[in-house]
Amino acid sequence: MKLVLHRRYRFSASHRLNQPGWTREENRRVYGKCANEHGHGHNYVLDVCVTGPVDPATGMITNLADLDAYIERHVLSEFDHVFLNEQVPAFRSLVPTAENICRVLFDRLHEYPHAQLTSIGLEETGANSFEYAGEIRENV
Protein backbone atom coordinates (compact mmCIF):
# COMPACT_ATOMS: atom_id res chain seq x y z
CA MET A 1 0.00 0.00 0.00
CA LYS A 2 1.65 3.24 -1.12
CA LEU A 3 1.27 6.16 1.28
CA VAL A 4 2.66 9.67 0.91
CA LEU A 5 2.69 12.02 3.87
CA HIS A 6 2.46 15.76 3.25
CA ARG A 7 3.47 18.34 5.83
CA ARG A 8 3.19 22.08 5.14
CA TYR A 9 5.50 24.74 6.57
CA ARG A 10 5.54 28.51 6.19
CA PHE A 11 8.33 31.01 5.85
CA SER A 12 8.37 34.65 4.89
CA ALA A 13 11.31 35.97 2.95
CA SER A 14 12.30 38.62 0.47
CA HIS A 15 14.12 38.20 -2.80
CA ARG A 16 15.10 40.01 -5.97
CA LEU A 17 15.21 38.48 -9.43
CA ASN A 18 18.26 39.87 -11.14
CA GLN A 19 20.96 38.33 -13.34
CA PRO A 20 24.19 40.19 -12.62
CA GLY A 21 25.48 39.47 -16.14
CA TRP A 22 22.55 41.31 -17.75
CA THR A 23 21.93 45.03 -18.19
CA ARG A 24 19.38 46.86 -16.08
CA GLU A 25 17.03 46.95 -19.09
CA GLU A 26 17.32 43.23 -19.75
CA ASN A 27 16.59 42.42 -16.13
CA ARG A 28 13.64 44.80 -16.18
CA ARG A 29 12.32 43.26 -19.40
CA VAL A 30 12.61 39.65 -18.17
CA TYR A 31 11.78 39.97 -14.47
CA GLY A 32 9.58 43.10 -14.44
CA LYS A 33 8.79 44.37 -10.94
CA CYS A 34 10.66 41.41 -9.45
CA ALA A 35 13.91 43.08 -10.54
CA ASN A 36 13.33 46.09 -8.24
CA GLU A 37 16.62 46.89 -6.60
CA HIS A 38 15.59 46.55 -2.98
CA GLY A 39 13.71 43.28 -3.37
CA HIS A 40 10.23 42.33 -2.18
CA GLY A 41 8.78 39.51 -0.08
CA HIS A 42 6.38 36.59 -0.03
CA ASN A 43 4.73 34.27 2.46
CA TYR A 44 6.00 30.97 1.12
CA VAL A 45 4.26 27.67 1.86
CA LEU A 46 6.47 24.60 1.61
CA ASP A 47 4.85 21.17 1.16
CA VAL A 48 7.25 18.37 2.07
CA CYS A 49 6.18 14.96 0.71
CA VAL A 50 7.71 11.75 2.07
CA THR A 51 6.99 8.07 1.64
CA GLY A 52 8.14 4.82 3.18
CA PRO A 53 6.87 1.85 5.15
CA VAL A 54 4.56 2.50 8.10
CA ASP A 55 6.27 1.47 11.32
CA PRO A 56 3.90 -1.05 12.96
CA ALA A 57 4.92 0.10 16.44
CA THR A 58 3.92 3.73 15.84
CA GLY A 59 1.58 3.67 12.82
CA MET A 60 3.80 6.34 11.26
CA ILE A 61 5.88 6.78 8.11
CA THR A 62 7.98 9.21 10.11
CA ASN A 63 7.54 10.84 13.47
CA LEU A 64 6.39 14.41 12.80
CA ALA A 65 8.54 15.66 15.65
CA ASP A 66 11.60 14.40 13.72
CA LEU A 67 10.40 15.89 10.45
CA ASP A 68 9.54 19.23 12.06
CA ALA A 69 12.94 19.42 13.76
CA TYR A 70 14.73 18.59 10.50
CA ILE A 71 12.81 21.22 8.52
CA GLU A 72 13.39 23.78 11.25
CA ARG A 73 17.13 23.09 11.22
CA HIS A 74 17.64 22.76 7.47
CA VAL A 75 15.11 25.23 6.10
CA LEU A 76 13.18 27.51 8.41
CA SER A 77 16.07 28.66 10.59
CA GLU A 78 17.84 29.85 7.45
CA PHE A 79 14.96 30.89 5.16
CA ASP A 80 12.44 32.56 7.47
CA HIS A 81 12.56 36.36 7.70
CA VAL A 82 15.66 36.85 5.59
CA PHE A 83 16.63 38.41 2.26
CA LEU A 84 17.32 35.23 0.28
CA ASN A 85 19.77 36.80 -2.21
CA GLU A 86 22.10 38.03 0.50
CA GLN A 87 21.57 35.70 3.41
CA VAL A 88 21.31 32.22 1.90
CA PRO A 89 24.69 31.38 0.34
CA ALA A 90 23.16 29.24 -2.46
CA PHE A 91 21.48 32.35 -3.88
CA ARG A 92 24.58 34.52 -4.12
CA SER A 93 25.15 32.96 -7.54
CA LEU A 94 21.66 31.63 -8.33
CA VAL A 95 18.57 33.75 -9.02
CA PRO A 96 16.06 32.89 -6.25
CA THR A 97 13.06 32.19 -8.44
CA ALA A 98 10.57 29.78 -6.90
CA GLU A 99 11.92 27.13 -9.29
CA ASN A 100 15.44 27.55 -7.99
CA ILE A 101 14.24 27.71 -4.38
CA CYS A 102 12.52 24.34 -4.99
CA ARG A 103 15.75 22.82 -6.28
CA VAL A 104 17.81 24.13 -3.38
CA LEU A 105 15.24 22.91 -0.84
CA PHE A 106 14.93 19.48 -2.47
CA ASP A 107 18.70 19.05 -2.38
CA ARG A 108 18.73 19.98 1.30
CA LEU A 109 15.90 17.64 2.23
CA HIS A 110 16.48 14.53 0.18
CA GLU A 111 18.89 13.21 2.79
CA TYR A 112 16.19 13.19 5.47
CA PRO A 113 17.10 9.98 7.32
CA HIS A 114 13.68 8.74 8.51
CA ALA A 115 11.69 8.52 5.24
CA GLN A 116 12.15 8.98 1.51
CA LEU A 117 11.52 12.44 0.11
CA THR A 118 9.30 12.11 -2.98
CA SER A 119 8.78 15.74 -3.91
CA ILE A 120 8.38 19.23 -2.56
CA GLY A 121 5.79 21.85 -3.33
CA LEU A 122 6.28 25.58 -2.96
CA GLU A 123 3.54 28.21 -3.04
CA GLU A 124 4.96 31.64 -3.61
CA THR A 125 1.52 33.27 -3.59
CA GLY A 126 -1.99 31.85 -3.62
CA ALA A 127 -1.80 31.99 -7.43
CA ASN A 128 1.69 30.61 -8.09
CA SER A 129 2.79 27.17 -6.97
CA PHE A 130 5.58 24.82 -7.98
CA GLU A 131 6.45 21.16 -7.53
CA TYR A 132 9.80 19.47 -7.84
CA ALA A 133 10.56 15.75 -7.57
CA GLY A 134 14.30 15.84 -8.27
CA GLU A 135 16.18 15.17 -11.47
CA ILE A 136 16.09 11.37 -11.25
CA ARG A 137 12.30 11.27 -11.30
CA GLU A 138 12.20 13.73 -14.21
CA ASN A 139 14.34 11.47 -16.38
CA VAL A 140 12.27 8.34 -15.79
Binding site: M1, Y9, V54, T58, G59, M60
Partner: protein, 140 residues
Protein backbone atom coordinates in the same frame (compact mmCIF):
# COMPACT_ATOMS: atom_id res chain seq x y z
CA UNK B 1 -9.30 8.83 -18.32
CA UNK B 2 -11.09 11.35 -16.11
CA UNK B 3 -10.46 11.79 -12.39
CA UNK B 4 -13.36 12.74 -10.18
CA UNK B 5 -12.84 13.91 -6.60
CA UNK B 6 -15.44 14.22 -3.88
CA UNK B 7 -14.74 15.86 -0.55
CA UNK B 8 -16.40 15.13 2.81
CA UNK B 9 -15.60 16.13 6.37
CA UNK B 10 -15.87 14.32 9.64
CA UNK B 11 -14.94 15.19 13.20
CA UNK B 12 -13.46 12.58 15.48
CA UNK B 13 -11.19 12.10 18.46
CA UNK B 14 -8.25 9.78 18.90
CA UNK B 15 -5.13 9.10 20.92
CA UNK B 16 -1.81 7.44 20.17
CA UNK B 17 -0.69 4.76 22.59
CA UNK B 18 1.27 1.56 22.11
CA UNK B 19 0.69 -0.85 25.04
CA UNK B 20 4.07 -2.48 24.32
CA UNK B 21 5.83 0.82 25.19
CA UNK B 22 6.52 2.08 28.70
CA UNK B 23 4.59 5.23 29.75
CA UNK B 24 7.81 7.21 29.20
CA UNK B 25 8.30 5.79 25.71
CA UNK B 26 4.69 6.55 24.82
CA UNK B 27 5.14 10.14 25.91
CA UNK B 28 8.47 10.50 24.13
CA UNK B 29 7.30 9.00 20.83
CA UNK B 30 3.75 10.33 20.70
CA UNK B 31 4.05 13.58 22.68
CA UNK B 32 0.75 15.38 23.29
CA UNK B 33 -1.05 12.78 21.15
CA UNK B 34 -0.55 10.30 24.01
CA UNK B 35 -3.00 12.18 26.29
CA UNK B 36 -5.21 9.31 27.58
CA UNK B 37 -8.37 11.39 27.23
CA UNK B 38 -7.73 11.86 23.52
CA UNK B 39 -8.15 14.95 21.38
CA UNK B 40 -9.96 15.67 18.14
CA UNK B 41 -9.69 16.96 14.59
CA UNK B 42 -11.91 18.08 11.76
CA UNK B 43 -10.77 15.59 9.16
CA UNK B 44 -11.22 16.40 5.49
CA UNK B 45 -11.37 13.41 3.14
CA UNK B 46 -10.91 13.69 -0.62
CA UNK B 47 -11.73 10.58 -2.61
CA UNK B 48 -10.61 10.41 -6.24
CA UNK B 49 -12.14 7.94 -8.68
CA UNK B 50 -10.63 7.37 -12.13
CA UNK B 51 -12.59 6.19 -15.14
CA UNK B 52 -13.99 6.81 -18.57
CA UNK B 53 -17.28 8.72 -18.62
CA UNK B 54 -20.23 6.49 -19.48
CA UNK B 55 -21.32 7.42 -23.04
CA UNK B 56 -25.00 7.52 -22.02
CA UNK B 57 -24.70 9.62 -18.86
CA UNK B 58 -21.40 11.47 -19.35
CA UNK B 59 -20.45 10.41 -15.80
CA UNK B 60 -17.47 8.48 -14.41
CA UNK B 61 -19.84 7.40 -11.67
CA UNK B 62 -23.02 8.80 -10.26
CA UNK B 63 -22.04 11.34 -7.61
CA UNK B 64 -25.15 10.51 -5.63
CA UNK B 65 -23.98 6.92 -5.41
CA UNK B 66 -20.48 7.99 -4.33
CA UNK B 67 -22.02 10.28 -1.74
CA UNK B 68 -24.03 7.36 -0.35
CA UNK B 69 -20.96 5.09 -0.26
CA UNK B 70 -18.99 7.75 1.65
CA UNK B 71 -21.89 8.30 4.03
CA UNK B 72 -22.36 4.61 4.75
CA UNK B 73 -18.76 3.41 4.80
CA UNK B 74 -16.97 6.40 6.33
CA UNK B 75 -19.18 9.03 7.91
CA UNK B 76 -21.56 6.61 9.65
CA UNK B 77 -18.50 4.82 11.06
CA UNK B 78 -16.20 7.68 11.95
CA UNK B 79 -18.05 10.98 12.28
CA UNK B 80 -18.29 12.15 15.92
CA UNK B 81 -16.61 9.01 17.17
CA UNK B 82 -13.60 8.22 19.32
CA UNK B 83 -11.65 6.36 16.65
CA UNK B 84 -9.67 4.08 18.99
CA UNK B 85 -12.75 2.71 20.77
CA UNK B 86 -15.70 3.10 18.44
CA UNK B 87 -14.41 2.08 15.01
CA UNK B 88 -13.85 -1.71 14.90
CA UNK B 89 -11.52 -1.45 11.88
CA UNK B 90 -9.15 0.68 13.98
CA UNK B 91 -9.37 -1.35 17.18
CA UNK B 92 -5.91 -2.14 18.54
CA UNK B 93 -4.25 0.07 15.92
CA UNK B 94 -2.66 3.48 16.35
CA UNK B 95 -5.05 5.79 14.47
CA UNK B 96 -2.45 8.00 12.80
CA UNK B 97 -3.40 9.78 9.59
CA UNK B 98 -1.48 7.04 7.73
CA UNK B 99 -3.49 4.26 9.40
CA UNK B 100 -6.85 5.99 8.95
CA UNK B 101 -6.14 6.74 5.27
CA UNK B 102 -5.20 3.09 4.68
CA UNK B 103 -8.33 1.89 6.50
CA UNK B 104 -10.52 4.24 4.44
CA UNK B 105 -8.91 2.88 1.26
CA UNK B 106 -9.68 -0.70 2.35
CA UNK B 107 -13.30 0.21 3.14
CA UNK B 108 -13.90 2.08 -0.11
CA UNK B 109 -11.98 0.05 -2.67
CA UNK B 110 -14.41 -2.89 -2.95
CA UNK B 111 -17.48 -0.64 -2.78
CA UNK B 112 -16.25 1.58 -5.61
CA UNK B 113 -14.36 -0.91 -7.78
CA UNK B 114 -16.96 -3.69 -7.66
CA UNK B 115 -19.54 -1.45 -9.32
CA UNK B 116 -17.75 -2.06 -12.62
CA UNK B 117 -17.41 1.60 -13.49
CA UNK B 118 -14.54 3.74 -12.21
CA UNK B 119 -11.69 2.71 -9.94
CA UNK B 120 -10.53 4.19 -6.66
CA UNK B 121 -7.42 6.21 -7.50
CA UNK B 122 -6.50 8.12 -4.36
CA UNK B 123 -7.63 8.69 -0.80
CA UNK B 124 -6.33 11.97 0.59
CA UNK B 125 -6.97 12.56 4.29
CA UNK B 126 -6.28 15.90 5.96
CA UNK B 127 -5.87 15.81 9.73
CA UNK B 128 -5.19 19.56 9.65
CA UNK B 129 -4.66 21.87 6.66
CA UNK B 130 -0.91 21.35 7.17
CA UNK B 131 -0.84 17.57 7.58
CA UNK B 132 -2.32 15.13 5.12
CA UNK B 133 -1.67 11.66 3.74
CA UNK B 134 -2.29 10.28 0.26
CA UNK B 135 -3.10 6.58 0.00
CA UNK B 136 -2.58 5.31 -3.53
CA UNK B 137 -3.33 1.62 -2.98
CA UNK B 138 -0.84 -0.56 -4.72
CA UNK B 139 -0.63 1.73 -7.77
CA UNK B 140 1.21 4.99 -8.37
Amino acid sequence: MVYLTRKVEFSASHLYHNPAFTPEENRRVFGKCNNPHGHGHNYVLEVTVAGEPDPHTGMVLDLKELKEILQREILDRMDHRFLNYEVPELAGKIPTTETIAMTIWQLLEPRINDRGQGRLQRVRLYETPDLFVDCLGNGQ
